[in-house]
Subunit: 296 residues, 2 copies
């Protein structure tokens, strides 16, 4: 398989679903939907929903009916970017090569668009219909995974830890903890939700969870490296911002090469977690490698 082709195909599949879930016909209140669409449909690698799909595929499930669950992760991710970019938080002007949401729609609307996207994520994964064939109990488990991964014990908790660590001396254990919450928990939820969709056995779900934790760390290390060595053109957002903000990162502990090596070790561990899976898990394996090799 060609991983780039695979990622393109899955991204298009998700983009199609996302557009359908916030169609132009949704208009009242117009500014709210415009603002939601601006950020949700404004590009993006769709890593989290692709992980959900790849995880379900590893278990033999590749039904379009799962797209609402996969998409819910992109709704959560998008809301978190909108809120993180606000002047009261990271105060970023660019994201994915375009002005950030609040620069276009104002802070108030950006807050509300984020709130609406977060809420809609739960609407999407609690939907009655869809022909996904999951039991209500499995669907409820998906809601729980999403809530846990994105809330106080997950992403939001990590974001708070991250803000509080700026300009503070942070040791490596604390850095890991910040990232395992801020980035890791939502990636973990993405993979586990795919597992639930594919009716993973408890042992399979454990393996997938381990895989997710390893690639979550690899993802963050790669992001830190890109922030240090990437250019604004490659990233679609300002580069070198971590250093300017006095944030400790993996490269600041290990140097760029040391951090890269650490990332590769995580990827190897992640792939090893999948040894009981057959070739249907190849997308998961190749995504792990892609994560540390990507340029943006």
């Amino acid at each position: 398989m060609d991983i780039h082709q695979y990622l393109d195909q899955q991204r298009q599949r998700i983009d199609g679903f996302l557009e359908q879930s916030l169609p132009d016909s949704l208009r009242d209140p117009e500014k709210l939907y415009e603002s939601m669409r601006y950020s949700l449909l404004g590009g993006g690698k769709r890593v989290r929903p692709i992980l959900t799909i790849a995880s379900a595929q590893a278990l033999g499930c590749d039904d379009d009916a799962m797209l609402s669950f996969a998409a819910s992760l992109e709704f959560v991710h998008t809301y978190s970017l909108i809120h993180d970019d606000l002047p009261a938080m990271d105060d970023d002007d660019y994201r994915r090569g375009r002005l950030t949401n609040h620069k276009v729609y104002g802070d108030g609307m950006a807050i509300l668009a984020g709130d609406a996207l977060l809420t809609m994520a739960f609407e999407l994964c609690s939907q009655d219909s869809g022909g996904h064939g999951l039991t209500a109990s499995q669907q409820l488990q998906i809601v729980r995974e999403l809530a846990y991964g994105s809330g106080h014990q997950g992403m939001v908790g990590g974001q708070v830890m991250d803000i509080q660590a700026e300009n503070q001396e942070v040791d490596l254990a604390h850095l890991q903890k910040i990232h395992s919450h801020k980035t890791g928990q939502l990636i973990r939820a993405a993979v586990r939700i795919g597992g639930i969709i594919g009716r993973a056995s408890p042992i399979q779900l454990d393996s997938l969870t381990g895989y997710a934790e390893d690639i979550g760390l690899a993802f963050q290390i790669a992001d830190d490296v890109l922030n240090m060595v990437g250019t604004r053109e490659e990233l679609g957002k300002d580069a070198g911002t971590d250093e300017k903000r006095g944030k400790q990162t993996y490269p600041s502990f290990f140097g760029v090469d040391g951090a890269r090596q650490l990332g590769e070790e995580c990827v190897a561990r992640a792939i090893d977690r999948l040894k009981a899976f057959d070739s249907k898990a190849d997308p998961l394996r190749q995504i792990a490698t892609y994560i540390v090799e990507r340029k943006s």
Copy 2:
């Protein structure tokens, strides 16, 4: 029954559950939990969770196991207050007689505390355990009601309409629409969730929904009147703010007396919706009356 005694008892019951759901032992990250607790446990009438309880009681269910569902409405309500009070929105300094969340914890933390409370609402109502005896399918229906009532087609949508209507000429139909979204949909969700907990028949759920829509309107009319005639001491927040912001309200259309009369008509209609219910629905009936007679 004495409605004030009833409301006190139910408020204490909910407050107990809320304190338990965010215990002091939850500390990491400390500032996040402090900020969440500051607003969630900082008083409040607990109208929405009480409506859930009263609605379940009307159908003969009064089990403590339903408190997590009732509480989820207070989590959503509290998050909405924190975000609404932000400088980027209403820019209010006082709420429930105390400084608003962002005045104490800063704008960034207030946004994140709101995000965490919203997410935790969904965690609460998707919980696995609890001995509530609901089927997974009923519980999923509760998640849907909460998401619908609080999201783009509900509360958040209404908040956007409300902001956009400031200093604009708004006719009565548009005013009703704003309020039916901003306040009405979450009250509707509160009552309907109580109905689901009490295993309402479709006809009973329809009656409860009609009741909720009528008291939602009554509630908003009463709030508008209080904002005009109340004092800061009574309200625990600034009075007369609608007029200062050039917001159209029920009293600005009908005068204070006219608005009060309209509120009473809504209450009468709400009570009439419950005619097929026996005395177990008396709390719902008396809450309707209380809503227009309250002083804060």
